[in-house]
Symmetry: none
Amino acid sequence: MKMILAELLSIGDELLYGQTLDTNSHWMSVELSKIGVKVIRKTTVGDVDSEILKAFAEAEQRADIVLITGGLGPTSDDLTKPCLATYFQCGMAMNEEALAEVTAFFKSRGRELTELNRLQAMLPTACEKITNPIGTAPGMWFDRGEKIFMSMPGVPHEMKKMMTDRVLPRIQKKFALPIIHHKIIRTIGLGESFLAAKIEAWEKALPPHIKLAYLPSLGEVKLRLTGMGQSYESLRQETDALAETLKERIGQFIYGYGEEPIEVTIGNMLRDRHLTLSIAESCTGGYLSHLITSVPGSSAYFVGSMVPYAYEVKMRQLGVKPEVLEKHGAVSEPTIIEMANIVRAKFNTDIGVATSGIAGPGGATPEKPVGLVWIAYSDKYKTVTRKLQLTQDRSMNIRLASSSVLNLIRQNLP
Amino acid sequence: MKMILAELLSIGDELLYGQTLDTNSHWMSVELSKIGVKVIRKTTVGDVDSEILKAFAEAEQRADIVLITGGLGPTSDDLTKPCLATYFQCGMAMNEEALAEVTAFFKSRGRELTELNRLQAMLPTACEKITNPIGTAPGMWFDRGEKIFMSMPGVPHEMKKMMTDRVLPRIQKKFALPIIHHKIIRTIGLGESFLAAKIEAWEKALPPHIKLAYLPSLGEVKLRLTGMGQSYESLRQETDALAETLKERIGQFIYGYGEEPIEVTIGNMLRDRHLTLSIAESCTGGYLSHLITSVPGSSAYFVGSMVPYAYEVKMRQLGVKPEVLEKHGAVSEPTIIEMANIVRAKFNTDIGVATSGIAGPGGATPEKPVGLVWIAYSDKYKTVTRKLQLTQDRSMNIRLASSSVLNLIRQNLP
């Protein structure tokens, strides 16, 4: 089966000069991938007609489907429509249906149609108009033999609604699409190269229709299996089976599958086991609590936390023994053990975790360099600590230390 | 003066299939625009060598500067380096300096160098190695007559550090760039359209060589003045004078200039006035503390915080009176006043602030809908509260409420 290829073309100076972050093409990639269309390229050009026309021609050579966003506004710097008319060698004419729609749109908002807005219903005659129910710029679908061009507004919610309701179903109808299935395996605690070394043999044995990609981020690596074939169900079974064999090699580093980040996994584990959590975080300064509470419904298991930043607060509010702090310092194993145990007792939770370290850039001593972080986990059966030597970067240290605590919880929950 | 043109080329299947949102090219656009380089196109291609090679050739035709990100990992799906070697018709060889750097990088983390990691020091011989101080993949700079290719890691913080410290200065040295000066005026507390209405006359009177852009983000709007001319000093004076006249119109909403976010401004105010801060944050769940402690040196004024998520913790640990909680509920003005005053007393600080609200999606009642948030500020002279009605989105509510507290501190510090 021939793969159907798409190219995404975004038009607008604001995307080139950094005024607007393009999130449209990312969303479109996800949706096209779901229906088995392969995106082969994304291109962004500015509001320059020669550039737009060149991009049209290049895209048509490479792809079956050219999806265009942006440049449909009513002002003179919006060039997509005249360029499409030039490219398809047709004129522009008032589309009466589009005019009725844009008139109704303004009426429903209690506004008069201006002349500029009327012009939004002028369309290249070679296109089929696609209704925009939540905006003023209609979409345009161009059929050219085996290929299509589709032009949509750049406003994200208008584009998304048009894609979902009209464009994706039409693409599925016009093209014979293969079945594509992705399976994401989420790992934590081992770098990309170490992971790759551990699964080298497994990777080499993958069948040719299933590809593996490594997607690293701070403290984590996602493994993505992409299978292509005739049946969604058999691909699902194949990739599930492969993920199962992966467990034998790197099972201890796998924390989940799909789109769920580790804080959601931890939340589900806590909720399922009816366990509660409290946190005493010093060097992570609230970020660990933020990750936990970013999950909707986290109040079911997260009871509260303390950020005992100052020495005094560690003693007076949290209640770390002065002699422990004085003898070993705030960044030490005896102190981190106290912190995790005390917060668990004080907040009356099943689990207590704690962080204390030198986030940097200041605060280091010869024995305690920037990036040194102690973390601890405490429950009624045990207390576990880890000493981390992280980076020179404050923000990375905060993130990496928080991620390490989440992994420590995952590894130790009773 | 000839404009210097750049094309940004991102490489990686994960960008085409929607696994990763490309934020790199947006950041690069902003930075290039600051030094007077014009971005004319952005292209994303997958991990396919023929596509990468074609994209190199196309980009070289169009632009003076080709900036490449991604595809530098140690695994076999990373093709940027072999493609660059093919394109520049050179071999690959072990770069001893790069090898020493990657070895030192692993050693500093107490890890052994694997064979895969060693390969990261194999570079096309035609390039000049650019050190990556915070990662394992070196950058590569290729000089080809009047044009340059620069290849960088796709990991955002590595790319940003390499661009800032090495690549942008080299570009400024190699190319004759126009003088461009940006002045950023940072505002908080008023939406874009209200701000625009207030400064309409001022904006219309701007000279033609100075442009204004509105850069809205959650809770804030940055105004950017961009001047282009022959002398940096006269542009600086002109934009400074314009910013001064802006104060007369919207002075109360301006909190700073340049790159400093509000948490840095607040930190400087607290430090300069020798004041200390504590926080009791419920619905913001640690995010406000995280913002404050993300600033290096914040331990000089930030003493600590409590996240009293559960009702019990609000009473027992923080010490809100049970009768206040029972009568008015956790999300109420009497409770938020208690929270701010108590945390200030308990942590013995000059300032106490507090948040309590319905972040959503759960927890709403007919009287207390999702997005309702109370915030409070307390010092020895006064206690100030604000009732906010924010959005339906949990993450936005957490961010907007935190931003509002920072603004409340700014407005009320003695």
